[in-house]
Amino acid sequence: MSVRARPTSPHLQIYRWTITMTMSIIHRATGIANYAGMALLALWLLAAAMDQEALNLVNLVYGSWFGQVVLFGFTWSLVHHMCGGLRHWVWDFATMMEPGQREAMAWATIAASVTITLLVWIVFVWVV
């Protein structure tokens, strides 16, 4: 007996992957990442308020290659969430919602976030 395929209901994988959908998902993901990342800032400030030894430990962890990778990701996450937020803010005025416009804004969001993050790290971390 052959197994006949059963009717399938539409689910995520049958939809064409769109840039607006990707940016929507990334906006939420970066929001959650920023939420967790704020604990890193709080820890740094807490160590600075305590004493030099605690600060040395935080500097050691944040300055390690793994710490730097996390901080680079955190920078991009913050910048991307900001760009995404500004995009939503434009949409709140009920403009830029037409086909073409919204895709252009979505592409602009990712382009701006990557550019700004790289600029910040190149100028302030790798050069200075």
């Binding site: 939420r28 929001g31 959650i32 920023n34 939420y35 704020m38 604990a39 800032l41 709080a42 820890l43 400030l45 807490l46 600075a48 308020a49 004493d51 030099q52 600060l55 500097n59 944040y62 300055g63 913050l78 910048v79 900001m82 937020g85 500004l86 939503h88 803010w89 709140d92 910040v120 302030f124 971390v125 200075v128």
Partner: protein, 130 residues
Amino acid sequence: MRETVVTRDMVANPKTHYGDAKASTRHFITQRVTGLINVVFLGFLLFIVVRLAGQDRADMVTVIGNPVIGIPFAVLIAIVAVHMRNGMRDTLEDYFSGRMYRLVMLLNTLFCLIVAVAAIGSILKIVFWG
């Protein structure tokens, strides 16, 4: 809080005021306003991190201990905490309901409160006591 059974008709009928119209509008506006203010926060954060990353305590006290920088930064962190709680709430509402939702929402509030108190407390300590 008693669970009410939500039907399709209830959602479709505007007279039922499904959801909390006023609180939800406030949530929406709060999120936009705090979000815009967070652009300023990001500028401050960038300045402080670039200026102080890897520096000694004395340098951090010099920069953050300056009330002109420390106090606005502390206020901005409080606003960030509100944005964090509101934003996470949007996410939690999508995946949880009932008692589970109230539990994760409690944890959400606690996390934002702890982060805010730790960060703001540290800044104020540096500003006022060095």
